[in-house]
């Protein structure tokens, strides 16, 4: 079995299963914690609260104007990096192909030049974010091993993806295998660390939006 076969076969299957089990575990372990009933008369009805939750999911993508001057660097870097990742994952031809083969869904891909450019920008943003994390006093205080591991596990797929598309070092098969394995490592870690925020962000914002809408508070 070659490295590529391993990456595409057992490793892929194992990482998908770990991802599914881990995500289910984490979500259920949170959802089933003790809840207390709320008896206070809400300011708004349920439809408005659901609307508030949905609105918060969207509105928190862009911070309030008053916060911008102090967090612009953080917002621009992380937004660029996240949008870049989304473009690469959902716009790159090989990725669409994989999704197509797994789910039957497909859509047009972006030109390779665009993906290459976006990959470069994404990589640069990630490096800048790491440097920031290593230097900013607040981030240094907050950062844990999870932060650095998660960074690495996202960085590696981007890096190997760039090397793969340029075929700069090593053969296509080796780079492809490394790229796939790096993604699989990320999938395996996702349920256990901060990468889980990819899903929790929507739950967290939605729940806050609903709770705050209940109180009529600012979201």
């Amino acid at each position: 079995m070659t490295l590529l076969e391993f990456a595409r076969g057992p490793a892929f299957q194992a990482s998908v299963l770990i991802l599914i089990a881990g995500v289910a575990w984490r979500l259920v372990a949170i959802i089933l914690l003790r809840r207390r009933p709320q008896f206070a008369e809400p300011r708004h009805g349920l439809p408005a609260r659901i609307g508030g939750g949905a609105a918060t999911i969207l509105s928190r993508f862009v911070p309030r104007r008053t916060f911008w001057p102090r967090i612009a660097v953080s917002v621009v870097l992380s937004a660029t990096f996240h949008i870049g990742l989304a473009i690469i994952v959902f716009g790159g031809a090989p990725h669409i192909l994989l999704i197509h083969q797994l789910t039957g869904l497909t859509w047009p891909s972006l030109p390779r030049g665009v993906i290459s450019l976006v990959s470069g920008v994404t990589l640069a943003c990630m490096i800048a974010l790491l440097i920031r994390r290593l230097n900013h006093p607040v981030l240094r205080l907050l950062s844990t091993a999870d932060d650095y591991l998660s960074w690495l596990l996202v960085f590696l797929p981007v890096l190997t993806g760039i090397l793969l598309s340029g075929e700069t070092i090593g053969g296509y098969a080796t780079l492809l295998a490394l790229h796939i394995i790096s993604v699989e490592l990320m999938m395996i870690w996702l349920p256990f660390g901060k990468l889980m925020h990819a899903g929790l962000v929507f739950a967290g914002r939605g729940l806050m939006g609903m709770n705050f809408s209940r109180k009529g508070a600012a979201t």
């Binding site: 076969e5 595409r8 299957q13 299963l17 289910a24 259920v28 959802i31 296509y172």
Partner: protein, 362 residues
């Protein structure tokens, strides 16, 4: 090839230069051959005169060709070149002393030829092999004259100057080795050690590669530079993808999505249709087939990666390289159930730690 055989061993002491002159091929022809071979082997053009001079001084080289667990496709391919091509000149340089499919002799006469050739050229002959070698049950699945391929290889390889493993079966085991590999087939390099081996994989291999390797070996007395899989770098150094004339479409993200869509008609990249070009090392895209006429991608089909180890088991021919095999709904369901059960157990344990009542009661 028959020519080479017809001539027998009469001219064995003669140099190749003299022999060719006698046949009306002068030194200009030899130099031209050397130029073509240097080009094919990706050697600098300046090497050609030296190569021609070496060839002129060289003696014909005895070649013993053994066919093991194979389909004769490799031999067919080498014979199918239209005459007279430059590649066939190479057969004037060798003395093909044993080749079961081509030789007139049969039975004990053939056996005798083989033993005579081995005895006469001990340590100097080239051993060419096509087909894989069954190893299961002492190699009983392929026999010649009652002897297993395994035993023959061991014996004949011992006195060879170098070994040419021709075709994917001889090089890597090929289709016989594909799952479930009932005969325990393997390639030559899995059984022979301590001898120079050159693999010329392909199902079938590109004929020009064999010509180039032979010309190099006869000119310089050694094998050309090889990659980590013992393949001549000059022919296997780049992937099909790297040399493909459709590469520009890949770079632009223009892909055929099916064999009859607009992209396919426009000749766009076949990556999505399962082309294995990016992972396949071979010279098809540059040398092409049938005297440079075409190659699979040019005729609209993706590369199937036939020159790579285990190509038969490396996913479907029409499965894109980007694809992976999903875990299946059943396994996914089990994983989700495990996760839900574990998560629920954790949550229930955690509930005991939170306050059951809003009041801080003892």
């Amino acid at each position: 090839m028959q020519n080479a055989d017809d001539k027998g061993n009469a001219n064995d002491d003669e140099t190749l230069g003299a022999m060719l002159s006698a046949r009306g091929i002068g030194r200009r022809g030899l130099l031209k051959f050397a130029i073509a071979m240097a080009s094919s082997l990706a050697l600098p053009p300046g090497v050609a005169p030296l190569m021609a001079a070496n060839l002129a001084k060289a003696k014909r080289r005895s070649v013993i060709w053994l066919s093991f667990q194979e389909c004769t496709g490799c031999v067919e391919t080498l014979l199918r070149s239209s005459s007279p091509t430059i590649d066939q000149v190479i057969f004037d340089f060798i003395s093909l002393d044993y080749q079961e499919a081509l030789m007139a002799a049969a039975g004990t006469a053939a056996e005798k030829t083989l033993h005579d050739a081995i005895a006469a050229n001990k340590g100097e002959y080239l051993l060419a092999i096509d087909g894989s070698i069954p190893t299961k049950d002492s190699g009983v699945y392929s026999l010649t004259g009652g002897r297993s391929n395994l035993a023959m290889l061991k014996e004949i390889a011992a006195d060879a100057k170098a070994i040419l493993a021709i075709g994917t079966c001889a090089a890597f085991g090929g289709i016989p080795k594909a799952f479930p590999n009932p005969t325990g087939a393997v390639g030559v390099e899995d059984l022979v050690s301590g001898k120079p081996i050159v693999n010329i994989p392909g199902c079938p291999p590109v004929p020009e590669v064999l010509s180039g390797v032979l010309a190099y070996f006869i000119s310089f007395g050694k094998l050309p530079d090889l990659d980590e899989r013992k393949r001549p770098l000059a022919y296997f150094g780049a992937t099909i993808h790297d040399q493909c004339y459709r590469r520009a479409f890949y770079d632009q993200g223009k892909f055929a999505h099916s064999f009859d869509d607009e992209g396919a008609r426009q000749g766009w990249c076949l990556f999505e249709l399962g082309c294995k070009g990016p992972t396949t090392h071979n010279a098809c895209a540059s040398l092409k087939w049938n005297n440079g006429t075409s190659f699979p991608i040019q005729s609209g089909h993706g590369c199937i990666g036939c020159s790579e180890p285990d190509f038969w088991d490396a996913g479907g021919f029409y499965t894109s390289l980007a694809g992976g095999s999903a875990a299946g709904w059943r396994n996914a369901g089990i994983a989700a159930a495990v996760g839900i059960a574990g998560g629920a157990a954790t949550a229930l344990a955690a509930r005991n730690k939170s306050r059951p009542d809003p009041e801080d009661k003892p």
